[in-house]
Symmetry: C2
Subunit: 496 residues, 2 copies
């Protein structure tokens, strides 16, 4: 707001008429949008990096960006095979090169055959290259123990975010007390709150149970729904499994309960399953909503509407920059599906390189293929290291007084709860900051560690958290966790 | 609607409760969205292709998709250098290969240095890789004769569409008679009508003058604005130059008039300049709105708000599938720019491969570089062939009675006007089709030529047109144009 005031006074000073588009005259829904994962704390982190480059003295030598699930930015090496296939598709002259394995060439040739003009430079159909949609369908069938998947229910997208926003957009309608309400978990990944604010829909919070490892309780869903019905029309329920930022992996029983609840209450289900390959904890296992729904049989299997989202940005690939993903819609009204297709077509098509990497992800080398051994080894190495980092994170944080961290069963984040002394809370309020934002900013300034305050994801009143990725390289992660714990102790002393 | 009715009766028949998300209960704004470029005619084209593959006999052997500006789908060969650079960035092992020129390697290394983790697999900042934004700024400065461009005013995007939709989204506000109105040309590229429908903003039509080669007349802008002010609040003016679908290239004088008009009437200017490299006609020259605005000096230069859009999908690259583009904002309120940045950050970043190709497009090989000669030769060959096709299209169509085609001065399309006999119009109305849709569907069924009816772009009441790309390969284009002209003659006889 300071900036805005400044603008106005300057306008006045120059005696110029105001601009057409100002903070006051712009889309008010856009103004309400918030996205903490790339919010003020990250802006400050960028400034600090610049200051370091300029030789400014700091109590640290590098900024560690543990704010976003960006594996390759943290040093993860790309898996070789998908990059080989993509390079061949981008520059087909390489198909004659002896430096590429036969299976990579076969795959690239197959993909190019399916592209317009046999080139990645042509638009694909808006739902994605048909052959890739078919490969995704077969992947889902393997994942779900043979339950059929229809390629025509699969829409490739520009990362999962794009598909999530599209499905939410279809659901939004009404005004005042008839506005669409969408149930989202708290803590949530802020794409959901941002999209609902942009669409002027009603965000309906249901709280995950921190005391029970962030589990989802249907009684809490019922409470949230009941209260919401007084002021909006709840039509959809979003579930993130494995959880972001909370890292829990839902049990099959829990998923069945959620499906029954959604069916009884007539809620469209959105299942954010982009971390389906990121499950680490003993005894934890990923169950797709689609599989559970189908195995529940009638009336659920044939009726309950579901959209399930996946991405190439997470898992073991971590190919965030290529923006690839898909949504599978289940039991969606045929006419609505046509409308979705139409809406997607206005934006022409998802980027073809992301489609290529997605194809490799859903149809990787088979045991008989020359690249199989290396692909498997690289894949396992990534997932094994992530599992070790998840364990280490939980362990080190729980050794620190005043920090409590639930097991990181899956996904790529810890979301520890931190005790902040009353005087720190008071100081934050004086500064007009959320207490955990104040803590995270101080942490960044003094240690160079960039994490996102829990207030950016939502949390129970009076509790404070931060989200930290488990992605920093092993050799950096332990010192990082210890440094953070020590800072918390120091911060606590300072304000006690 | 047939489908919808079908759905319902089926619901009833099965005695099942209706779905949560139906045509009746979905977002009504999305329902109003239309996008002819990939509309029903293209669906039918896809079906016909399938039938041909299945060996069904047709009066033609292939479907020619002249509906969309997709150069590589029509056989245009990708320019070598950008693909080499991208392949090197995707698979950096190739940096050791002797098969790539030094300048491609240098460029790839420079780009990777600027990426998180030195990998395309990392997210870039939401506005795009900073170094690429700087290269874009230098490109704009060269293009505009040294007028400065600020990298911080440049936002890379997922094709130009993404950026256009973002800027429109910022402008949309109000309800009833205070709703934002946006002036768009008729005929228009239907992204604009689609986005305005989705955002529930008011589309304000201004007509291009077909009699004067689709020129833009400020008197017509004034008429449209005056009428619009009765029922909405016009806040923005969109101009497409070179024109899509109309192919005109605006004179500098016209651009100055438009800028003066926008300034006086307090309209935010959106300049769709994605065809800035596609200018063919003798005496036609591309003038960027930014350059003209700055050269007009005060009060315009320092005050008039402008967003200019560009893309890697058109020009000589034609790399549609990679979804790369950018917007430069000029005189945008600083606080609004922050809001735009925030909004963009929710979707994380534009696809990195598209950013790479954009970087090559804005900083191509220099005369001293090993790849310069080949790059220039390939670039010139593409542009020269497009110019020849533009000329041929105009010429053949104007030889046909009942078809009149303005000169294709630029862009990639002809938008000929066709006379349709009254009985054909009547027949179309009986079928519930727009007369030119009826014509185009019959054309597709009998010749395999897929073009888009003028009704999908907007046209003066009682006039009929179609948009056809000039992209089919030279050897196919002449027979195609003649076939189309002959079909029109036959169609006219049939209904006379």
């Amino acid at each position: 707001m300071a900036l805005r005031a400044g603008e106005h006074s300057q306008e006045a000073a120059n005696g110029l008429k105001e601009k057409v588009l100002t903070l006051d005259s712009m889309n008010p829904c856009v103004r309400r949008v918030e996205y903490a994962v790339r919010g003020p704390i990250v802006q400050r982190a960028l400034e600090l990096e610049q200051e370091l480059r300029q030789g400014v003295k700091k109590p640290f030598t590098e900024v560690i960006r543990a704010n976003i699930g960006d594996a390759q930015a943290m040093g993860q090496i790309p898996i070789t095979f998908p990059r080989q296939v993509l390079a061949l598709c981008v520059h087909p002259d390489l198909l004659n090169s002896p430096d590429f394995p036969e299976d990579a060439k076969r795959k690239a040739e197959r993909i190019l055959q399916a592209c317009g003009g046999h080139s990645l430079g042509a638009y694909s159909i808006s739902a994605g290259v048909q052959m890739i949609r078919e490969d995704v369908a077969r992947y889902i069938e393997r994942r779900d123990g043979g339950i059929p998947a229809d390629p025509n229910n699969i829409f490739l997208s520009t990362g999962a975010s794009d598909a999530i926003v599209t499905v939410l957009k279809l659901l939004v309608t009404g005004e005042g007390r008839t506005r669409t309400g969408v149930l989202i978990p708290i803590p949530q990944y802020p794409l959901y709150s941002a999209a609902l604010a942009e669409f002027n829909a009603v965000q309906v919070d249901y709280y995950l149970d921190e005391e029970r490892a962030w589990s989802l309780d249907v009684a809490e869903l019922r409470r949230a729904l009941g209260q919401a019905r007084d002021h909006c029309r709840p039509r959809a329920l979003c579930v993130i499994n494995p959880g972001n930022p909370t890292g829990q992996v839902q049990t099959r029983e829990c998923i069945e309960d959620v499906i029954r609840f959604a069916f009884e209450e007539r809620l469209f289900l959105l299942a954010d399953e982009v971390y389906q390959d990121n499950v680490y904890a003993k005894g934890s296992q990923f169950h797709s909503f689609k599989k559970v729904l189908m195995e529940m049989g009638p009336p659920y299997a044939a009726r309950q509407e579901l959209a399930s989202f996946h991405s190439i940005s997470k898992g073991y690939l971590g190919e965030c920059g290529f923006r690839g993903g898909y949504v599978e819609v289940v039991n969606m009204d045929a006419a609505v599906k046509q409308q979705m297709q139409k809406l997607r077509s206005v934006r022409l098509c998802p980027p073809t390189p992301g489609q290529v990497l997605l194809d490799v992800a859903v149809s990787p080398p088979a045991p008989s293929d020359p690249s199989f051994a290396q692909f498997q080894a690289e894949r396992q190495a990534v997932l094994a290291e992530l599992a070790a980092k998840a364990k280490l994170t939980e362990q080190v944080f729980n050794e620190a007084p005043g920090i409590r961290c639930n097991p990181v069963q899956g996904a790529m984040y810890s979301f520890p709860r931190v005790q902040l002394p009353p005087r720190a809370v008071q100081r934050a309020q004086e500064l007009g900051l959320a207490p955990d934002m104040f803590f995270c900013l101080r942490l960044l300034e003094e240690t160079g560690i960039c994490v996102v305050p829990g207030s950016g994801f939502g949390q129970r009143e009076g509790t404070y958290h931060f989200r930290m990725t488990i992605l920093p390289p092993m050799e950096k992660l332990r010192p990082l966790l210890e440094k953070l714990s020590q800072f918390h102790a120091k911060f606590t002393r300072e304000y006690s």
